[in-house]
């Protein structure tokens, strides 16, 4: 991305130059047109005045006298008789003083048959100027120059009258007017560009201020950005602040997780160590207790690894699977645990229940649920596993007769390392967190409810249901 300042400066400069160019061209074309109209008006007006002055009975001598008046030194007007030039004798009345530009304005008279009668100085240089063929304005090339010509036919004197202005006169005037317009603009352009760059520079100062405030922060500074910003940056500042808040929350959760993980790993390790010390000092039961410590440590480590793996893999490959064989297998696997504690473990409900999920993940999920239920249920208690359809949705339920959970904790136990207090049982505090993670990945819903008079009911309901194959 190029800088905003450079982008604005560049595009505005180009726009300015383009606008100047368009204005210049428009001025040129408009002046050209308007001047042509003014000059045309004058040509026609003067032609009419001349026509009005012509005497119908004028003789050749009258024209000779007119010729002597029209002629300029070195460019005498030419009188014609029957198409042949006739010398004009009386140049004494021709003007001594005239303006250079007069050479560009010429008057001519033709007979009705198209033969020249009297032509001004410049229209004789390369033979007589072409005779008019119809009334009106036209452009005519003659002797290497372009001429703007107005022609009219005077009936009373039976004469064609043409008045012409050399094109270069018109062009020069247009050019001069256009240049006079352009020059101040050319001087102003650099000034404008300089001003623009200053304004742009000042305009983006708040952006730079904001970015330097963000840039200059230390990685640990997660306070809000609170310096004032213009309206346009308000949204950006707001989203930055929202992002910072979210980051803070995530970091805080990570920090808590690390602290809790440290506690859950180091506590059994400390227990293990002290029991080994005791065993060395001769405690008979200490070695056995050390083994319990090792098992607990192993469980925490395994569950941490499961969580880490779940965090890494974003999506699950899910196929339609039958829950029953998986659940039945796991119930059978954990049976000895229940038997050891004299607990009554039952599997009820459907013997075929299809869901769209990953087989291994369902296994981990259910093992954690059942493990929790067995762990928290006292000796002789009951644990029931049920497969059912609930309003057409497949549902797995684990019910126990344990102590249940305090109402306040029901929503929170799925957080990592949350454990109900005052329990003699030692869990890692990770089981339900793993369950909730897995349930989310399978787009299922986890519900925890306390039972009457005591116990906990945990159900997992799969939302996406696919038609049974059978």
């Amino acid at each position: 991305m190029i800088s905003i300042r450079r982008y604005l400066l560049r595009t505005l400069a180009i726009a300015l130059v383009l606008a100047g160019g368009v204005a210049f061209t428009a001025a040129y074309l408009i002046t050209d047109h308007e001047l042509e109209e003014i000059l045309d008006t004058q040509l026609s007006l003067h032609s009419r005045i001349v026509a009005g002055q012509l005497d119908p009975n004028a003789t050749i001598d009258d024209y000779a006298r007119l010729a002597s008046h029209l002629g300029l030194p070195e460019y005498p007007a030419q009188l014609y008789r029957d198409g042949i030039a006739v010398p004009v004798n009386s140049p004494e009345s021709s003007p001594k003083l005239y303006h250079e530009e007069e050479l560009k304005l010429v008057l001519g008279f033709w007979n009705s048959d198209g033969s020249p009668r009297l032509l001004g100085g410049k229209w004789n240089d390369a033979g007589p100027f072409p005779a008019p063929l119809e009334e009106g304005f036209r452009w005519e090339s003659y002797d290497g120059h372009r001429w703007r010509v107005f022609s009219m036919f005077d009936i009373t004197t039976d004469t064609w009258i043409s008045m012409g202005l050399r094109g270069s006169f018109h062009d020069e005037v247009v050019e001069r007017i256009t240049w006079n317009n352009l020059l101040p603009m050319l001087f102003l352009l650099p000034l404008l560009l300089w001003l623009m760059s200053r304004i742009i520079r000042r305009g983006i100062v708040p952006i730079q201020a904001l970015s330097s405030q963000v840039q200059g922060r230390s990685a640990r500074d997660l306070s809000e950005i609170d310096n004032p910003v213009p309206q346009e940056l308000n949204g950006l500042r707001q989203s930055l602040n929202d992002f910072i808040a979210r980051l803070k929350e995530t970091l805080e959760r990570e920090r808590r997780f690390t602290a809790d993980a440290a506690h859950e790993l180091r506590t059994p390790l400390a227990a293990l160590r002290i029991h080994l010390d005791n065993a060395q000092a001769g405690g008979e039961q200490s070695l056995q207790k050390a083994y319990i410590g090792v098992e607990r440590l192993q469980r925490v480590v395994e569950q941490l690894l499961i969580l880490a793996r779940l965090d890494q893999v974003a999506t699950t490959s899910s196929a339609t699977i039958d829950l029953y064989p998986i659940i039945a297998e796991l119930v059978a696997e954990l049976w000895p645990l229940a038997e050891e504690r004299d607990q009554h473990l039952r599997l009820t409900g459907l013997t075929r229940l299809e869901v769209r999920a990953d087989e291994i993940e369902v296994g981990i999920l259910f093992r954690n649920l059942l493990d929790n239920a067995l762990r928290y249920t006292s000796e002789g208690g009951q644990v029931e596993v049920e497969l059912a359809l609930w309003e057409g949705l497949p549902q797995l339920t684990v019910r126990d007769t344990g102590p249940g959970l305090p109402e306040a904790l029901l929503d929170k136990v799925t957080e990592r390392f949350r454990r109900a207090s005052g329990q003699g049982t030692t869990g890692s505090g990770l089981g339900l967190s793993i369950v909730s993670e897995l349930v989310q990945r399978q787009q299922a819903i986890l519900t925890l409810t306390n039972r009457e008079p005591s116990g906990l009911e945990v159900s997992v309901r799969w939302e996406r249901v696919y038609a049974c194959a059978s």
Binding site: I274, S286, R419
Partner: protein, 220 residues
């Protein structure tokens, strides 16, 4: 020496209790902070060992409540090794901390240090006249000669020696021997004191009739 242990983890608590009892401590173990706080008002302890990761109250809160009610030395056990957690514990009133997992010998040494500091002693060898007790080695010598003592005899002698010339009541000494909630044989203290007098010197421990016993710091 009677220690108050506040540890929510059954396995670790069991290990610490066993280890401390082997060292001659009497241990009262509570899993919840609030139970420990109510116990401290009614019983006498030499030291408090507190695990900061308790389930019912935040460990720091328990620490502050303990500190409000007692000036006993407090040693905290913590798994949180972040600097702010450790400093926070000391600032909240703990005398020392031990990071989990800890070495048992280090735990015992730190317990001795905090108790010694609470009594205003710098050395770990307690000397009173001809009696000297090395707390680290549990060794007692009288007039320069080592004396072999039983665990309960040692505990009684140490408690008396820590408060020389002060009369310690019989119930207090009984509590020391058996811990909270356990049955005490009615004449246990008399029996152990009798043995101590026999092994050391008859006039070292003086019987204050109807009240208890005191240790004569001038005995030679």
């Amino acid at each position: 020496m009677r220690a108050l242990l506040i540890e929510d983890d059954p396995l670790l608590g069991d290990g610490i209790k066993t280890a401390l009892e082997r060292e001659g401590y009497t241990v009262d173990w509570f899993m919840l902070g609030r139970e420990a706080i109510s116990a401290i008002g009614s019983e006498t302890f030499s030291v408090i060992i507190l695990d900061l990761g308790l389930p019912d109250m935040d460990g720091m809160q328990v620490l502050q409540l303990l500190r409000q009610q007692s000036t006993l030395p407090i040693l905290i056990l913590t798994a949180r090794d972040a600097m702010e957690d450790r400093i926070g514990g000391l600032d909240a009133g703990a005398d020392d901390y031990v990071l989990k997992p800890f070495n048992l010998q280090e735990l015992l040494a730190r317990l001795r240090v905090v108790m010694r500091r609470a009594e205003g002693r710098a050395s770990q060898i307690l000397t009173l006249g001809a009696l000297s007790i090395d707390e680290a080695r549990h060794a007692v010598s009288w007039r320069g000669k080592d004396v072999k003592l039983g665990r309960r005899e040692y505990a009684l002698l140490l408690e008396l020696a820590r408060h020389p010339d002060r009369v310690l009541s019989r119930p207090r000494l009984e509590n020391l021997l058996y811990g909270w909630g356990e049955e005490v044989e009615s004449n246990a203290v008399e029996v152990h004191i009798h043995h101590l007098r026999k092994k050391l010197e008859k006039h070292l421990i003086i019987n204050v009739r109807g009240i208890g016993y005191r240790l004569d710091s001038q005995a030679r």
